[in-house]
């Protein structure tokens, strides 16, 4: 899902940013369990991080904006569990396992939690990068029905390559179950006026992390 509510950059009407004083890491115990379940299931490689994002993006917009952050994580996890056939809706409703099934060979252990580092998304490059720092590029005007990481506000806009970040797993492919299809990743910078018009603040620049297939030479 691409042109959905999760793509919030530049939208109006959400009100002021409200900071909570002395905010705890988790507000409730259930939030911490939802987070930890997501973390513990990740290394089992039953789905990718982008499929996880896509599951939340597919929530109806009204649900997406009215659910709290960890409620969205819960809904996304419940959905993937069911889609992968790990548990059925009847089992989630019953609160216990009603059927036996295939068990994973290895699960996330307390010892694994001693080092909670991110995995790497960098991969060997199938070809040299097409762009260099300093090149001007135009982002594509795309509106796929499937997952993408090119935000709407930065489509069909001219920017400048600032840095090459290596060759990474391509979300637009892996989220659709079409394999990692590694692509070069660039930091692309846009003047605020290119994105938001002549009247916008001239002292602002915005960058996105853009995969090579999003870009054409300007």
């Amino acid at each position: 899902m691409t042109n959905s509510i999760h793509d919030m950059g530049g939208m109006h009407g959400f009100g002021p940013v409200e900071e909570e004083e002395n905010e705890p890491v988790f507000h409730t115990a259930w939030e911490s369990r939802v987070y930890a379940m997501n973390r513990a299931m990740g290394p089992l490689r039953l789905w990718t991080i982008d499929e996880g994002r896509a599951a939340q993006e597919a929530l109806p917009p009204s649900v997406y904006v009215s659910a709290s952050y960890y409620q969205r994580w819960l809904l996304g996890l419940e959905r993937r569990i069911q889609e992968r056939g790990i548990a059925g809706a009847d089992e989630l409703e019953a609160g216990r396992s009603l059927r036996s099934g295939e068990r994973p060979n290895r699960i996330f252990t307390p010892a694994d939690a001693e080092e909670l580092t991110r995995g790497s998304f960098e991969r060997d490059a199938p070809a040299p990068p097409r762009f260099s720092a300093g090149d001007h590029v135009r982002t594509l005007n795309i509106n796929p029905q499937t997952h993408t990481r090119l935000p709407r506000y930065a489509r069909d806009k001219v920017g400048k390559i600032e840095a090459i970040r290596g060759c990474h797993v391509y979300p637009d492919s892996v989220a659709n179950g079409a394999g990692e299809d590694p692509q070069w990743l660039y930091t692309v910078v846009f003047p605020g006026q290119v994105l938001w018009g002549e009247d916008s603040d001239q002292s602002v620049k915005i960058s996105i992390e853009a995969f090579e297939p999003y870009l054409i030479k300007e």
């Binding site: 940013v17 890491v25 649900v63 396992s97 694994d112 939690a113 991110r118 290596g166």
Partner: protein
């Protein structure tokens, strides 16, 4: 995505409607305080989370003790105190500063006294001419390893929508007023690269050791919605 009967997704939406009707789903991300005020016993969401954990545990997919360890890690070891040590070192050690700006993952892992960092951390340095600010407009990407889990405001619709279109106004709501000549550079975390801001070292801290300096480095100053504290703020 199409809704198909029997796919589990409709059941999921049924769950969602129950959550909304029961008042468990709130009208804003920041409204956590009302989470459990409506329920006499366990709220729907608590029941659901408990069910999910029990089912996944019984089926052999999770070890509840590992969940405890993950939660404990984020409540104790992993948090913005790590990032503050990194910044204090960068302020104190010119060679480390260069290494950090070159390859933050490697530089942080070489420090030894902060929890380890995986791929792919990028440090960006504020100067009088340029102020950096980080957002994830599409979800909530954040450098967990050096800053811990993001605060609610970072994940909220107001911040995600406004940071890229009116960053100066957003900064003013955080009490940050910059010179009009200072360029504001907003980094939208749209991939698996993760950004931490190295704020400017405050005046009047000459000769301070790293421990004392780290106490000036707030979480917000490393996201770019704040500045480092001044010596008088911690006196």
């Amino acid at each position: 995505m199409q809704l198909k009967a029997g796919s589990g997704i409709c059941e999921n939406f049924h769950y969602v409607s129950n959550l909304i009707e029961s008042g468990t789903i709130m009208t804003s991300d920041g409204d956590h305080s009302h989470d459990h005020t409506h329920a006499s016993e366990l709220s729907d969401v608590q029941v659901r989370v408990r069910s999910l954990e029990t089912v996944l545990s019984e089926k052999g997919y999770i070890d509840p003790a590992a969940l405890d360890a993950i939660v404990e890690g984020y409540e104790t070891r992993i948090g913005p105190h790590n990032g503050a040590k990194v910044v204090a070192r960068a302020w104190s050690d010119p060679a480390f500063r260069v290494a950090l700006l070159e390859d933050a993952t490697a530089a942080v892992n070489d420090m030894g006294n902060v929890s380890p960092v995986g791929s792919h951390l990028i440090a960006i340095e504020n100067t009088p001419a340029q102020h950096h600010m980080v957002v994830c407009t599409l979800c909530s990407c954040y450098p967990w390893e050096v800053l811990g889990l993001p605060p609610t405001w970072y994940k909220s619709a107001p911040y995600r929508s406004r940071a890229v279109i009116e960053p100066r106004k957003v900064l003013s709501e955080f009490g940050v007023t910059l010179s009009e000549k200072t360029e504001i550079r907003v980094w939208d975390s749209t991939a698996e690269t993760r950004f931490m801001v190295v704020p400017m070292r405050p005046a009047g801290t000459e000769g301070w050791n790293e421990v004392k300096l780290a106490a000036l480095v707030t979480r917000n100053s490393m996201v770019g919605t704040g500045l480092a504290l001044k010596p008088e703020d911690v006196a």
